[in-house]
Symmetry: C2
Subunit: 567 residues, 2 copies
Amino acid sequence: MRRQKYALGLDYGTNSCRALLVDLSDGTEMASHVFAYPTGEDGILLDPKDPNVARQNPADYITGAIECVKGVNRMARKSRKGFNAADIVGIGIDTTGSTPIPVDKNGTPLALLPKFSKNLNAMAWLWKDHTGHSEAAQITEVAAKMRPQYLAKCGGTYSSEWFWSKVLHCRNVAPDVFKAADSFVEHCDYMPALLSGDTNPKRLVRGVCSAGHKAMYCEEWNGLPDKAFLSKLDPALAPLRDRLFDKAVSADHLAGRLSEEWAAALGLQPGTAIAAGAFDAHMGAVGAGIREGVLVKILGTSTCDMMVMKANRKLADIPGVCGIVNGSILPDYYGIEAGQSAVGDIFLWFVNHLVPDSYGKTPDAKFINLAKAASRQKPGEHGLLALDWNNGNRTVLVDVRLSGLLLGQTLHTEAHEIYRALVEATAFGALTIIKRIEEYGVPIREIVNCGGLASKNPLLMQIYADVTGRPMKISRSDQTCALGAAIFGAVAAGREASGYDSIKEIQSAVSGVRTTVYQPNPANRKVYAEMYGLYHDLHDAFGTTTWSGRLNQVMKNMITLREKQRV
Amino acid sequence: MRRQKYALGLDYGTNSCRALLVDLSDGTEMASHVFAYPTGEDGILLDPKDPNVARQNPADYITGAIECVKGVNRMARKSRKGFNAADIVGIGIDTTGSTPIPVDKNGTPLALLPKFSKNLNAMAWLWKDHTGHSEAAQITEVAAKMRPQYLAKCGGTYSSEWFWSKVLHCRNVAPDVFKAADSFVEHCDYMPALLSGDTNPKRLVRGVCSAGHKAMYCEEWNGLPDKAFLSKLDPALAPLRDRLFDKAVSADHLAGRLSEEWAAALGLQPGTAIAAGAFDAHMGAVGAGIREGVLVKILGTSTCDMMVMKANRKLADIPGVCGIVNGSILPDYYGIEAGQSAVGDIFLWFVNHLVPDSYGKTPDAKFINLAKAASRQKPGEHGLLALDWNNGNRTVLVDVRLSGLLLGQTLHTEAHEIYRALVEATAFGALTIIKRIEEYGVPIREIVNCGGLASKNPLLMQIYADVTGRPMKISRSDQTCALGAAIFGAVAAGREASGYDSIKEIQSAVSGVRTTVYQPNPANRKVYAEMYGLYHDLHDAFGTTTWSGRLNQVMKNMITLREKQRV
């Protein structure tokens, strides 16, 4: 009998982390364990005086690794007789990002030192920390003048969520922390280093996913931004560059091997391969089976739309697309990342703030009844049109200074009609991204959805199929991020250990889609084509400075459509 | 001792009618009595198959007169020793409209005849009956070609709510009723005729308020629309013209004197003067003290904005203003009627459909808590901007094919913020009307508000003051329509009976404003001036065919304003 081989994926989300044990022969998800970060509010350290603050305690990451892996071990032993943790050939790790952690010379997070243990600025700076918004504006301004090529790769605007905005803000508001920091390490790079027993920031392996998408790293300009540029932002950043890194790698690289100490703590075999780290969405795309021609949509509070294209072909900068980084998803492929700033978050906002209790007492009950009532409507029957910009627009406008819009309400408009209009607005936003990517020469032949909304919201999936005119497939796994991480653990372990040569081979074995596929309904598609035209008018009128035209038709056409669809 | 003199106002609303007894020496409202129409749903006969149907049983009007006047008599005797109903010198009557009633040769409503007692089409056609919408479109089309002057006086579009749309629809769908109808009489004309004991449609006094605003009556073209025009609509309308009327009068005219029979039924003195009838909003404006330079705003589910201008001066047609009719409010003055299609109705819609129970269990409780929370906000702090078009736009766009719009919502926008934005939107709509009227040479020196919202919604009143930059006064009486009717009763009675020569004199005695005046706050006014500029951009972009421009500034300026106001 062939010996069983497993890989372990560790997935660090915003509020909790999860370990997933995958049988490499067929992708069976044998065991998983979730750990909610104990520090702060839902795992996030907030500042009541500043809503932009979002930090995390690095100690939670460490406790999480131990609890999750031990939990998975226990569950696997129960569910499969003769399970042996020594058969776990590799570990992959994904995290949120950009989530940089200030560390000392040994790579120890400053937050773990007594001196800084209560200092918010010494914690991990979570991806959604926006305290560096004025620094982001400064970086965009300086780059636009000095290094426009830096901006071209990240959609034209540097974000407050990204590495340099956070580091520079730390320098500005917490010079003591900045001074004590020998380096800043992304959460996704810190974890593999930690488990391998060597967190020395000079030596630890940095992933190209975080480096390329968030820290302006690119081989075209020899890595990180040059010192002249950094000095212009702040003279203290130039010397920091020497204490960061020269080279970043894709996640199929080995970051290290499990140390004796950590093997004992986790109950695993010392020497187990650990892959270089990357972001959750990028590894999730791999878990969902990404390959050329496949758009993977990760649908959650916001969305990530991921594509890959062979890096030996010429790929134009796609205006308005968040980032194009060689190797950020698959080695030797450009990783193309687009996304919508709010999708599930818009529905949550609506349910929490604007849905009366006649739809249900709890948010869950409200969602069920809203969907039930909205499903009974034909497209356009509500006469409503919305823009999905409650949290700005990431792709293709790259503009946080936009807002939501709802049009078409009468004296009879009901909450479930608005809910449907909001779902449709996010679908129109998704179609805008698809069109933009294809216009720049990247054909989309298949769409695979993952994330909570994909499996739990059939109304949304059908509307997406009808609006885009494309079948909507759903990833078989509910945990594509952790599954993707496990795939990288296996590939980093090498053929001898894992039995596989390539990511593609492992994907064939462990990834897949469900049998349920949402097919576009031709009649609905026609109505949505008309509504998309009007959405597009609003999109360009409110979202661009170059638009000129008429808007008088928007309300009238929606009223005409409403009357037609109600007959 | 001088003998007390009283006047009686009878006010027929949509769901109930009311009688009010007024002491003519000082306007003391001595007694009032309300009667809810017993037939149908809240007094309205509906058709479950057609939401456009809204009819009323004329029998309810008659019962209402008896119950209300008897009720007032009882209350007056209790509250004032020696009260003598013989001291009631005159009766005035206002009703909704256009509410035409098909009547036989004697002026008896067909609905009161056994043959038609169950026939919806033989009932009174309530103002908000919209069954004649295609007939309205036909009338607009034919008038635009043949008689553009007819349209110019009513804002450019003939409404389904008006006289000829209803009569023509009756002809189309109920030829038996149309054939049996010797004439059609407005509710406001029927009541004075009834009480005077002579409802003969050839003789009964017709009011110019209903004739001019709803039936295209104008002395410029010798009364009602000519036969050639009516024949073009339907050959049966030309002979009907002969059975309608040649002359319509203002409400200071005597319609008749109380018959012996009705005096006995009501407990009043036979021979008491009865004024010609008019609509509620028009008599309400008089009750609120209208005179040149005063804009009276009647704030309810929708609003009426009333002005007068001396008829010996030249007044241009004001584009987009519902109607300009000589004598419709005050004799020898042009009555100018503008209005917003929905104001209170928008708030009701929002509270009933989109406010969670965390604001309260009942609509009333929700209103209180929304207002409380919204009052704590500074203008623009919510970052929202709305268009008040959920029920179309009556003035100045005269377009029912428009809809609501809300812009600026984030992931944190709360219901009370939207409530405030909706109140502001109606204030911007009100300011648009004010500007239009003044642009055409009718200066507004004072604004008096009446109706439920004026006395019960201080947040709204303050916002209206801040948005318009003008003090908002509130009519002293809560029942300005019935008070206005009483004023007309007194003036129709003549000097000898009432002690007064003119409406102006009676207004000085009985009308007035409260001591509370909402003064514009200069800081808020400045913010609202900026927001009104953006509202105006949206207004013209979505509401006109001639607009061209940019809208990119709207969301951005609202975000900037929000940030400024939150500091």
